[in-house]
């Protein structure tokens, strides 16, 4: 018995050691500087966090007269482009209540519950927002992994007033569980109206990829278009998150485009052995709000390669906890399936007050590898 415990301890120590080395190597790889032709993601703009105009030495986000004076006077180069203030939120907007009730609850450390949608006809029966109680329902997640639904079917569902008797204020947050991490999925879901996004990841790079395509610049690379989101009623109050948290309108938060990054919630689904091995790095990223431990798939995948499911699952849970991120699991025994996300930490009121989605990048253009708990030692705020 003792020998087994020792063996387990040894394994855990070894795993921790490997994870530490992995993180160190990760940081080393991520830390490589941009080549002169751009950045180390070839051919795409990777925001760099620069704020000072080279010719004037002025902070472009402070009092720089962007309407009349050129900030970027150097040759056009994404590697040293100083991102302008056009999408900045005002001080009031930065502290406005969230129009995404899921974000509002997560920031407050409250549990979040969502129901699966696998058919177009089944949507309205689970679309009503319920803040608290045994039937609590904060978001719906359209399952694009294991259903036959396509864009043309779920976009209309997300329109305002698509369900009889429900309004923007009484409809649960729109969410989707995607089958891939590429631009197509992210663009279509975002443009369709999703603001709770669940994506499968198997590596830290996968997690960076989903952040990259899902959020607007400068944090991500999502492009703008004439989309379903135009139908969102900006002047109408969002669902009341519950537990005394305040509602907000999209307009009051700064408009859809500018407030999306702050309000959108990203949940990284981990259902593979590789994903579980990368969980610590994934959970550490700013832009990842929660980890979905896909128990059914992780168990299935682990068995396939003879890996220890419990050890992997514990590692995933520990990763979420260590980074103050919500941990989500799905109850597949009920119809529709129910996803529950909880923060397994006791936060003080002061801690909760500090929790904000920074949506910031490090000097290399990658999401900051730290928890959203502002003031945390890891948080270069």
């Amino acid at each position: 018995m003792r020998s087994r415990a020792r063996l387990t301890n040894t394994r855990l120590t070894a795993a921790a050691g490997i994870a530490a080395v992995a993180m160190a190597v990760s940081l080393s790889v991520l830390g490589q500087s941009c080549p002169s032709t751009g950045c180390d993601l070839p051919g795409i703009t990777v925001p760099n966090g620069f704020t000072i105009c080279p010719n004037t030495g002025t902070d472009v986000h402070a009092s720089f007269p962007t309407g009349t004076t050129l900030c970027n006077n150097q040759p056009i180069n994404p590697a040293n482009w100083v991102y302008g203030p056009n999408t900045d939120l005002t001080a009031a907007q930065e502290t406005a209540n969230y129009w995404n009730p899921v974000q509002a609850r997560m920031i407050a450390g409250l549990p979040v519950i969502g129901r699966r949608v696998s058919t177009a006809t089944g949507y309205c029966s689970v679309a009503q927002y319920v803040a608290d109680g045994t039937n609590a329902n904060h978001f719906t997640w359209v399952d694009l992994q294991h259903s036959g639904l396509d864009n043309s079917q779920y976009w209309p569902l997300w329109n305002a007033n698509a369900c009889a008797g429900l309004t923007w204020t009484t409809t649960a947050a729109r969410g989707s569980l995607d089958s891939s991490i590429d631009e197509r999925e992210a663009q279509h879901d975002g443009d369709g109206g999703a603001y709770v996004m669940i994506r499968p990841v198997e590596s830290i790079r996968d997690a960076q990829e989903i952040i990259f395509w899902s959020f607007y610049p400068p944090f991500g690379h999502r492009s703008q278009g004439n989309t379903n989101t135009a139908a969102m009623p900006g002047g109408t109050l969002s669902p009341a998150p519950g537990s005394g948290l305040g509602q907000n309108t999209i307009n009051g938060a700064g408009g859809y485009r500018n407030s999306f990054n702050r309000n959108a919630v990203m949940i990284a689904q981990i259902g593979t052995v590789a994903g579980a091995q990368a969980a610590a790095g994934v959970a550490a990223l700013d832009g990842i709000d929660a980890i979905y431990l896909d128990q059914e798939n992780l168990q299935f995948q682990a068995a396939g390669v003879g890996a220890d499911y419990n050890q992997l699952a514990n590692g995933v849970m520990a990763a979420a906890n260590a980074n103050s991120k919500h941990l989500c699991t799905v109850d597949t025994t009920v119809t529709p399936n129910v996803m529950t996300c909880t923060l397994n930490m006791n936060l003080s009121a002061a801690d909760i007050a500090k929790r904000v989605p920074l949506r910031r990048l490090d000097a290399n253009g990658y999401p900051l590898g730290w928890t959203r708990l502002a003031g945390n030692a890891n948080g270069a705020n």
Binding site: I18, M23, S26, V29, L30, Q32, G38, D40, L41, P42, G43, I44, T45, T66, G67, L70, C71, N72, I76, N77, W81, Y83, G84, P85, N86, T87, D150, N151, S152, Y154, P156, D182, E183, R184, Q187, H188, D191, E202, S203, I204, R205, D206, Q208, E209, Y216, P217, P218, H221, S223, Q224, G225, N226, T227, N228, R257, A274, Q277, A278, A280, G281
Partner: protein
């Protein structure tokens, strides 16, 4: 010495003349392959402006009404920021629309790259991004003769050309699409495949600082006919409002790049419904 120089000059002139003649012959050959109803390519060859209307509906009747708007050269079916799937786009493109003036179908498609990430906890330096073949293939096989695609680099523009054209210019697959239905023998002379390269129009969309920084090389890419200055997204990606000096600097560089390569420059009016794309020779 002078005589020798004169000889050299004569030889150069002769070579230039032969080259010009060959170019003219090739142009004539290309021109003869342009379908009579392809006003998009005809306008490009003659320097006339182009107008397109955006499609984001799956309703064939609405599509037909938009395609029948006077002065429209092609439809711009938005496969990026709409809920359209290809099954709907194909159906619209193939549906009968006798009143259509925009006989050429166009599609804005995603670059949809998927870097070959390796599994595991260790991130590796990402591989060069690749344009997923499916995006171009499905649009073209459905009948799109105008391809609009956002690119961030000259390398991406080259890859678009490679994916979009049939050999010998590119590597587009030969497959049983619906192009022969959309463009019957009365349009193509019964030779869609053989005349496709001469009729295709490719528009590179520039909407990022990265794209703007390489606009000159993107515009110079052979096989790219026009540059679409996507002001709304360039504003979003740069952080500067349209009209500000920083935005104007980016936009000017894109415009000058199109001009330098004698390519068309496209802009869009998003205040109209449907949105209108206008392209003019720089």
């Amino acid at each position: 010495m002078i005589r020798s120089r004169t000889k050299q000059s004569n030889a150069r002139l002769l070579a230039a003349g032969v080259l010009a003649a060959a170019t003219m012959a090739a142009s004539t050959s290309v021109l003869s392959q342009v379908w009579p109803t392809n006003t998009v390519k005809q306008n490009i060859l003659s320097g006339a402006p182009l107008v397109a209307k955006r499609i984001d509906t799956s309703d064939p009747a609405t599509y037909c009404a938009i395609a029948s708007t006077p002065g429209t050269n092609f439809t711009w079916t938005d496969m990026v920021s709409s809920g359209l799937d290809y099954s709907y786009a194909w159906a619209m493109w193939a549906a009968s629309c006798p009143t259509a003036v925009a006989s050429m179908r166009g599609a804005e498609i995603l670059y949809a790259e998927r870097p070959s990430f390796l599994d595991g906890a260790l991130p590796r330096p990402p591989a060069p991004r690749e344009l997923v073949k499916k995006e171009v293939q499905r649009a073209a096989d459905g009948g799109a003769m105008v391809l609009m695609i956002q690119v961030d680099s000259a390398a991406q523009a080259q890859q678009v050309v490679q994916r979009a054209y049939y050999p010998p210019i590119g590597t587009r697959d030969l497959g049983p699409g619906q192009y022969d239905t959309v463009y019957p023998a009365s349009v193509t002379g019964g030779n869609y495949v053989g005349t496709y390269n001469a009729n295709l129009v490719v528009i590179a969309i520039i909407s990022t600082v990265a794209g703007a920084s390489q606009a000159k090389m993107i515009a110079a890419t052979s096989g790219i006919h026009a540059i679409f200055l996507d002001a709304m997204n360039l504003e979003s990606d740069s952080g500067y409002a349209q009209g500000s000096p920083d935005f104007n600097n980016l936009a000017s560089f894109v415009r000058l790049s199109a001009l330098a390569s004698h390519k068309y420059l496209c802009t869009t009016d998003r205040t109209t419904t449907p949105n209108t794309l206008t392209c003019a020779k720089s």
